[in-house]
């Protein structure tokens, strides 16, 4: 790896702007990267981070301003040129070919040739050497389709290293990872820095920023708010820079006033896709006017539980009622009619049709409703009006108004659209599954506030989240799901992360579980308040 003097500026953007028509995606941005540092780039969705990185990677050309490397201005003609200059980029969505092996993917554009054939053995050896050196454990001969997302990411990083990158751009690298994988990634990034690599990391997650960054730059609405060293920063201070106002990381809410039970689940058994019991005899209630959080580590039956309530998955046994009406075994349509609003955990798969525009997505449930459809014909004016209203109320930002393709929206805006649609239906029960996954800080705050407002308006809210802090800060009551069973129940505000974490790993008696330490935090003071029989 070409070593520059540590601390010297190797990459610099000076007054760089990028304009699309009248719209400035970046305006007058100044940015510098020093050799051997981790420089985190933060900003809300749509703040212009990706535009900036695409200019660095040669995918976009700056409208104004200069990019310099090692003090000399450069014109980056395309990704190939960027690679030649030593810039490697790991995209949010990996650019790997599933049927090729890791090594084949890595050498794809840069093959060591032996005559006409690919010298795959030499390639594998080099990949192995690199992966050993940086602790990026991944089998070079495994097919990409067979390895985990975390390993795919490592393959992407190896690809950049293989091409002799000295600047590595990571675009939201932790968005797709499990907590363990995140920890592993942060360790690797540290190692790469120690080896002299200069790293730009784009992320929303302030905890990660504080744990890994040397310096932090914040973009807001296309402009650079500032660059600060990590020392002395807190989550709140960075968040403040990002949104330009103080963010309520703690949700401001009053004591809940629970009313009648709206959702009752009794002895529910549900199978997963592999035909194994995923939910095993779960029973709980959600009352009008309260938020019940379901806490649990991913894969403990949350998804199946939610699907079963929504009618999207058959129920083996048990009974579900919604505001007194038995909804066991009803179709999704019928459950929805009975008063369910559902923010699904996977908005790309379920929550919206990505190739529909916003207007059509807003009426996704309403294809047979009298206010949207007359004699089988869609009332476009009515649906457009509703879409306009909701986009306005929920600040859904899109390139082309309600005619925009939903898939073109940023994650936060997509989620706001889904939430707007579900709340607008005035449900009796609102299920919010991972409502803030992949969503920027500003939107998180907004979404949390909406959920609390719904609660205050008398809706029963079932919150399912993998983010413990989210469950803790929003829930009036918390049920803990572990291996498909409800193993604990807490009053909101009367439990801390440690005790909740213990319950989530199914350990009510203080035994630590190896490898799970990241979840539960410190493993002290186990005491489950109410454990239903």
């Amino acid at each position: 790896m070409a070593q520059a003097t540590p601390g010297a500026t190797i990459l610099e953007l000076k007054d760089v702007s990028k304009r699309f028509g009248e719209f400035y995606a970046n305006r007058g941005v100044n940015f510098d990267l020093r050799a051997g540092e981790v420089h985190c780039l933060c900003g809300e969705n749509g703040a212009g981070k990706s535009t900036m990185m695409n200019m660095l990677y040669g995918l976009l050309e700056p409208t104004e301003g200069t990019i310099s490397m090692d003090g000399a201005p450069v014109h980056i003609g395309g990704p190939r040129h960027a690679i030649d200059l030593g810039i490697g980029m790991v995209h949010q969505h990996f650019m790997l070919i599933p049927v090729f092996t890791v090594a084949e993917n890595i050498v794809l554009a840069d093959e060591p040739t032996q005559g006409m054939t690919l010298d795959i053995k030499a390639a594998e050896a080099r990949v192995r050497e690199l992966s050993d050196r940086y602790g990026l454990s991944v089998d070079p001969s495994a097919r990409v389709q067979d390895i985990t997302v975390g390993q795919q990411q490592r393959a992407e990083i190896l690809k950049a290293l293989y091409r002799r990158a000295r600047i590595l751009i990571l675009d939201e690298p932790t968005a797709v990872l499990t907590p363990q994988e995140i920890e592993e990634l942060l360790r690797v990034i540290g190692l790469l820095r120690d080896e002299g690599m200069s790293i730009i990391m784009i992320t929303h997650k302030l905890k990660e920023v504080l744990s890994i960054a040397d310096r932090i730059s914040v973009l807001r609405r296309g402009e650079m708010v500032g660059t600060v060293p990590r020392e002395g920063q807190t989550e709140a201070s960075i968040a403040n820079m990002m949104v330009g106002r103080d963010v309520l990381l703690k949700v401001d809410k009053t004591e809940s006033i629970p009313e009648r039970p709206v959702l009752t689940v009794q002895d529910l058994w549900v199978k997963d896709d592999r035909d194994l019991d995923a939910v095993r005899g779960a029973s709980f209630e959600v009352h009008a006017g309260e938020i019940v959080g379901v806490a649990g580590i991913d894969g403990n039956g949350q998804e199946e539980l939610v699907d079963a309530i929504a009618g999207l998955r058959p129920i083996q046994r048990g009974r579900i009622t919604l505001d007194g009406e038995d909804i066991t075994g009803l179709s999704p349509h019928e459950v929805s009619e009975a008063g369910l609003g559902h923010i699904p955990q996977d908005r790309h798969r379920r929550g919206m049709v990505l190739d529909f525009d916003l207007r059509e997505n807003v009426m996704l449930h309403d294809w047979d409703k009298r206010d949207m459809v007359r004699f089988g014909i869609i009332d476009r004016a009515a649906s457009a009006e509703r879409a306009e209203t909701l986009c306005d109320m929920y600040d859904v930002r899109s390139g082309g108004g309600i005619g925009s393709r939903a898939g073109s929206l940023s994650g936060g805006n997509q989620q706001k659209l889904v939430i707007a649609r579900e709340i607008q239906r005035d449900p009796k029960l609102l299920i919010a599954a991972q409502p803030t996954r992949g969503v920027d800080i500003g939107a998180i705050e907004f979404i949390h506030r909406r959920l609390v407002e719904e609660r205050d308006a008398g809706t029963a809210v079932l919150l399912v989240s993998l983010e413990m802090s989210e469950v803790l800060s929003l829930s009036d009551r918390i049920v803990v799901i572990f291996e498909g069973e409800i193993v604990a129940e807490f009053e909101g505000g009367r439990v801390d992360e440690q005790r909740l974490g213990m319950a989530m790993i199914g350990s009510g008696d203080g035994h630590s579980v190896p490898g799970q330490a990241g979840i539960g935090g410190a493993l002290a003071g186990p005491e489950v308040e109410e454990t239903p029989a």
């Binding site: 990028k18 699309f20 995606a25 749509g46 212009g48 990706s50 535009t51 695409n54 995918l59 976009l60 395309g78 990704p79 995209h91 949010q92 969505h93 675009d171 190739d355 525009d357 899109s398 390139g399 082309g400 005619g403 925009s404 393709r405 898939g407 073109s408 929206l409 940023s410």
Partner: protein, 371 residues
């Protein structure tokens, strides 16, 4: 259907670089173009001389003729190809000016015939009984131009003997008789490879319709005449298309001892001939010379459609064309006959020639429906 594009800033990251897509596309187009051209050149050397009349040769002073094929197209090795052969002969011998249009679907018949009628061709020829309705429709509207239909009588429905249409029909019984005669001689002598000595031959008809019945009747008579004690099995496939059905019938007949199978079932019959080949016995083709199928084809009972077409064009040129009636083409007119005789059976050629002479001389009475 209508939607604006993604806002550019977000969308760009997820799209592949344009050059990549473009260059692949260009490469594919180029590869295909070269591949196709390569094929084209080969086609040119083998098929370039068939018409030889690029760009409307004026030369001839003979009649203008339009030929409409049925769905089989010009490469059917049967009626369409033979009709075209007759037309080409008329072009070179009589200076006729011919145009051929191949039909791609049944609904093309009337369009294609109408095109010729509109151009006031001296003669428009339609191949096959499937075109009967269409020729009748067009001929009714175009009384000033002449038409001929191959293998169909203008006395049959839907025609009412229109004055401008001539049916070209064939004495199938004579061809059948020759084929039967050869089969009988072969059985009687019993020396050819593959014979079982049981003295059983057979035939498969497509349906009980006049042309088929005439073939079968002649075949039966021919076998009986030249083979004492020979048995002739006759079955109908009720199908002219499905090869499987004729294959089944042929296998059934062979299991009853048949070692010479005469197919009278068009495309379906090809299945019978392949069953025969698999068993190592003998088959007889129909309509066109099917010797190209292999050495197991003893001979074929053929209709010389080319002769009938040439003759009709000549009549138009001479002013002797007679509409409203059928031209019947028999052995005497060289309208029917035998195809090539299998190399192994060449020794019967002289005997067969005698039979042909007898039939031509009218010494033989051949029935037109099988017993």
């Amino acid at each position: 259907m209508s939607s604006t594009r993604a806002d550019a800033a977000q969308a760009t990251t997820t799209r592949a670089p344009r050059w990549w897509r473009t260059s692949l596309y260009v490469a594919l187009v180029a590869a295909l173009a070269f591949g196709v051209v390569g094929c084209g050149k080969r086609g040119g050397t083998s098929g370039g001389d068939s018409g030889g009349d690029s760009g409307g040769d004026g030369g001839g002073k003979g009649p203008t003729v339009g030929l409409v094929t049925d769905l089989g197209g010009l490469n059917d090795r049967s009626f369409n190809a033979l009709a075209n052969k007759g037309l080409e002969k008329a072009e070179s011998d009589l200076g006729a000016q011919g145009v051929v249009i191949e039909s791609k679907s049944a609904s093309d018949y009337e369009k294609n015939l109408g095109q010729f009628a509109q151009q006031k061709k001296d003669l428009t020829v339609g191949v096959g009984f499937l075109m009967a309705d269409s020729i009748n429709n067009v001929a009714t509207k175009s009384t000033g131009t002449k038409f001929a239909i191959i293998d169909y009588s203008v006395k049959d429905d839907p025609f009412k003997s229109p004055a401008n249409v001539r049916g070209l029909i064939f004495s199938e019984q004579e061809a059948g008789y020759l084929a039967g005669a050869l089969a009988g001689m072969v059985e009687q002598e019993g020396t050819l490879k593959g014979l079982n000595g049981a003295k059983v031959v057979s035939a498969i008809g497509g349906q009980k319709i006049p042309p088929v019945e005439k073939y079968l009747a002649g075949y039966q008579a021919g076998v009986k005449k030249f083979c004492t004690g020979c048995k002739v099995l006759i079955d109908y496939s009720q199908d002219f298309i499905d090869q499987g059905k004729c294959q089944d019938r042929a296998n059934a007949q062979m299991s009853k001892g048949s070692d010479i199978v005469f197919q009278v079932a068009g495309g379906c019959g090809l299945g019978a001939l392949s069953a025969v080949k698999a068993k190592g016995v003998w088959g007889i083709g129909v309509d066109a010379d099917q010797a190209y199928l292999g050495a197991h084809i003893l001979t074929s009972a053929v209709k010389n459609v080319d002769v009938a077409v040439f003759d009709t064009i000549k009549a138009v040129g001479d002013g002797t064309f007679q509409g409203g009636s059928d031209g019947v083409y028999g052995l005497k007119e060289d309208g029917v006959g035998l195809g090539e005789i299998a190399p192994a059976a060449k020794q019967y050629e002289t005997q067969v020639a005698t039979v042909i002479a007898d039939v031509k001389a009218g010494k033989v009475t051949i029935p037109t429906s099988p017993k």
